[in-house]
């Protein structure tokens, strides 16, 4: 997934998108304590980031996966079109599985868990700025396989567990979240690192249509459960994971 390496200018310019100001401050603290990095802009919402990133054209954008007005995934996919020179890293406090899924869906160069040790944040940013990807293609292959596995334990989880009461109705453990052919096709192109525009050209679809497909895929594959769904659940007072509907 590596893109042609561009000359790495120092310091590396970074844009931060996280709705927690305290996190942004911490990130600024850490990055600016190194000579090689300069935070050129910050945003707390997806809308603000989408407005500012194209003008600032940072080398790297650190995008929180979950935002009050959207997801870092959507922002990342938009940024690839509006600011092709910007490499994105998805920042998330969920675990590796969800983070990997988010990064692949976003077409990001990698993901960073919100923890300090492990992958060094500065190294990761520098690596990505140099045009490399942090995502092992073998893992992407496994991820796709896992999603496509018919009865597999992909991120989608539509199994409603129903404790057997006295003769209570036993719901069959059915998985209704299987992907359509078109969704499969788009998922493959996403995994190849194509932008929404490229996918649209390839499949003769409007970019907006591709965008809708991506949102649908995210919801269907249960990424919603851990990210937007939390917001969705709060707004709708329902358990979205059981529905598999788009927020």
């Amino acid at each position: 997934m590596d893109r042609p390496a561009e000359p790495v200018t120092t310091p590396i310019t970074v844009f931060l998108l996280d709705d927690h100001e305290i996190v942004r401050r911490g990130l600024v603290d850490l990055l600016e304590s190194h000579d090689g990095f300069r935070v050129v802009g910050e945003a707390g919402t997806a809308a603000e980031a989408l407005r500012r990133i194209p003008t600032l054209a940072p080398q790297v954008a650190l995008l929180d996966a979950r935002l009050p007005d959207g997801s870092g995934i959507d922002v990342c996919r938009d940024v690839q079109v509006t600011s092709p020179g910007t490499r994105c890293l998805i920042l998330t406090s969920y675990d590796d599985d969800d983070a990997l899924f988010a990064a692949v869906m976003a077409g990001a160069s990698g993901y960073l868990l919100k923890q300090i040790r492990g992958t060094s944040l500065t190294e990761a940013v520098a690596h990505v700025a140099a045009g490399h990807s942090l995502i092992d293609p073998a893992l992407v292959e496994r991820l796709l396989e896992r999603i496509r596995r018919p009865q597999g334990d992909g991120p989608a989880n539509g199994t409603g567990t129903h404790a057997p009461g006295r003769g209570g109705p036993a719901r069959p453990g059915s998985r209704t979240d299987t992907l359509t052919d078109r969704e499969q096709e788009i998922l493959t192109l996403i995994a190849e690192g194509l932008t929404n525009r490229q996918i649209g050209e390839r499949l003769h679809l409007a970019e907006k249509t591709v965008k809708n497909y991506v949102s649908g895929l995210l919801a269907k594959l249960g990424f919603a459960r851990r990210t937007q769904a939390a917001v969705y659940g709060a707004q709708h007072g329902a358990e979205p994971a059981e529905r598999g509907e788009r927020p």
């Binding site: 304590s33 899924f101 300090i116 567990t161 209570g168 358990e239």
Partner: protein, 604 residues
């Protein structure tokens, strides 16, 4: 009292019926007497009182010393025998009431009036029991109600000692017709009264249903209502074992084999019945559930424990069972029984039991709905907690750790660096723990997700041994570990943890499952002492059943003490699993801890 007035002359005009007893009187007097008797009979509504009045009035009208009304039961015998004119002492001396044999039976067999000069002369007579006063003249007429023979009026010994006349017979037949109407009225009245009572009970139960938190009490109340309204001796609510549901249209051996359990019982032997399980196949409840309709049995077999409890000498009483039909299928049955020898259930009884069974089924559905709601509430709550942990707690800790990390990198003093570094480490560990909690909070317990499975295996293997395990997952575990590999990994974890729990006197177990794109590593670390067993093995030994890349392992293994060897035997199995996947399994131990490391390559 009546007897004492038996010789008084009969005054004419309107007078109490009883006062004509003792004389036969003129035709006009007798007609008047009949009219009075009719009035008397139809003025009462409760069936027992009606029957009593019929007997008294009939005795007066017939001018007989003895009169009785025999009510015919289902078996064609006399179910009740209401008599008048016999001294209570004499009744007690005889001991039992007639059951409908001999001449009394003749009227049952052929419902036509019978008039005899002397009972004993009749070939059908079977004689009188000891202590029975002599009876000579006899008159018997059937009483019909709703087109069926309800019973017979019997008379013995005309007051003036002569034989019963055809006039007597005509009068008594006329009275029997009114008696039939009175009986019908009484029955209708009783039925409407019961219906009213049943409606009241239904309304009460409906109210109960809508009141949350009553739980199984509703079922108990329903059972009580059925017991009372059906005039039953025992009522139970039976359900399939393990909460199975007999789906609509299920028949054949599957539904037949289901076992039923008595969950609610009221009435005779209720305490012993609760919890009894039986085969649904041959039972009344099973039949009702399979056929989805109320089933009646007059002499049921012993299959239903409910029925066995009211049986006498192996023969049961009347019984019925109604299915509890829910949305997803038949959920159970209400079984209602009367003591052996009781009158059978009427269609009204069945209708009532069916309606209350509907209530019971509804109660169960509502309880399910409430349970679902509660589950959803719990899930929502868990999601909210997870969200809060994610949105607030982790972000703050992470931000603090970032700041500390930045400070550490700026710090010139190595000691300060070290301290800050350790603080960052601690915060990282905290984030990891919280992340695991978030996962647990959001993942349903029986999820097929590899992460959830590993969590479950680790906590199950160490349950109840006072060791709190920690599980650390590194890398996209759920993505990399496919079901086949997961099978191996869980087997390894179980084996390793069982060994730790059995052989190591440890207080902490840390499990680490790490994946990369190439391999998976399982590491089980316990703080059990390295010196094990009584013979005190040497510390610092490294054991491995594998030999690859190791020159001195065999040597060290020789020095290993016995408990460690025992662990090794379990290890052989783990090693072969690892080898099969191009990996290895090693066990290292020192004073502080014992570490089992199992690796496997991912299939390309």
């Amino acid at each position: 009292m009546v007897e004492r007035r038996s010789s008084s002359p009969s005054p004419s005009g309107s007078h109490p019926v009883g006062s004509v007893v003792g004389s036969v009187g003129s035709a006009e007097d007798r007609l008047r007497g009949l009219l009075a008797a009719n009035r008397s009979v139809v003025s009462e509504l409760a069936l027992p009182a009606v029957l009593r009045r019929i007997v008294e009035a009939a005795r007066t009208v017939a001018g007989a010393r003895y009169a009785a009304l025999g009510v015919i039961g289902v078996d064609g015998r006399l179910e009740q025998f209401i008599h008048s004119g016999m001294d209570p002492d004499v009744v007690e001396r005889i001991g039992h009431l007639p059951t409908g044999r001999g001449v009394l039976g003749a009227v049952i067999e052929e419902p036509e009036p019978i008039r005899l000069h002397a009972i004993s002369d009749d070939p059908r007579s079977v004689g009188f029991p000891a202590g029975h006063p002599p009876m000579h003249g006899f008159l018997g007429v059937p009483v019909r109600s709703r087109g069926e023979v309800f019973g017979n009026l019997y008379f013995a010994d005309r007051l003036d000692g002569s034989d019963f006349t055809s006039d007597d017979e005509d009068l008594v037949v006329a009275l029997a017709a009114s008696a039939g109407v009175a009986i019908e009225n009484a029955r209708l009245y009783e039925e409407s009264r019961r219906r009213q009572e049943w409606l009241r009970a239904s309304a009460e139960i409906s109210r109960d249903l809508l009141r949350p938190g009553l739980g199984d009490d509703v079922l108990v109340r329903i059972a009580d209502a059925v017991l009372r309204l059906a005039d039953a001796d025992v009522v139970t609510l039976d359900f399939p074992e393990h909460g199975a549901v007999v789906p609509a249209g299920t028949d054949g051996p599957l539904a037949y084999a289901v076992r039923l359990v008595v969950e609610v019982a009221r009435g005779l032997g209720a305490n012993d019945l609760v919890g009894t399980s039986y085969r649904s196949g041959p039972s009344l409840a099973g039949t009702a559930m399979r056929e989805r309709r109320a089933v009646l049995a007059e002499t049921p077999g012993p299959a239903d424990p409910t029925l066995a409890s009211v049986a006498e000498d192996g023969s049961g009483g009347p019984a019925m069972a109604c299915p509890l039909v829910g949305e997803a299928g038949v959920r159970g049955a209400v079984v209602v029984a009367r003591r052996a020898g009781s009158r059978p259930f009427t269609p009204a009884d069945v209708e009532m039991a069916e309606q209350l069974a509907t209530h019971a089924a509804l109660a169960l559905e509502l309880a399910d709905g409430r349970a679902d709601e509660e589950r959803v509430a719990v899930l929502e709550d868990r999601h909210r907690i997870a969200r809060d942990l994610h949105d607030h707690v982790i972000q703050r800790i992470f931000a603090t750790a970032l700041t500390l990390q930045a400070a550490s990198e700026r710090a010139a003093d190595t000691a300060v660096r070290g301290t800050l570094g350790r603080a960052v480490e601690d915060l990282d560990e905290t984030i990891r723990t919280i992340r695991a909690s978030i996962f647990e909070l959001q993942e349903p317990p029986s999820s097929p997700d590899a992460r959830a499975v590993l969590l479950e295996v680790v906590s199950a293997a160490t349950a109840g041994v006072g060791v709190e395990p920690t599980l650390r997952l590194e890398g996209p575990v759920a993505t990399v570990i496919d079901p086949v590999l997961l099978h191996d990994v869980t087997a390894v974890l179980r084996e390793a943890l069982t060994n730790v729990v059995k052989h190591a006197r440890c207080t902490a177990v840390n499990v680490r499952v790490a994946v990369t794109a190439e391999e998976v590593t399982v590491e089980v670390t316990d703080d059990g002492p390295a010196t094990r067993g009584h013979d005190g093995g040497p510390s610092g030994s490294t054991g491995s059943t594998g030999s690859t890349g190791s020159t001195d392992r065999a040597d060290r293994a020789d020095r290993a003490d016995r408990p460690l060897e025992r662990r090794h035997r379990g290890l052989a199995n783990l090693t072969s699993r690892a080898r099969h996947r191009g990996g290895d399994c090693t066990l290292t131990t020192d004073e502080r801890e014992t570490v089992l490391t199992w690796t496997a390559l991912l299939s390309p």
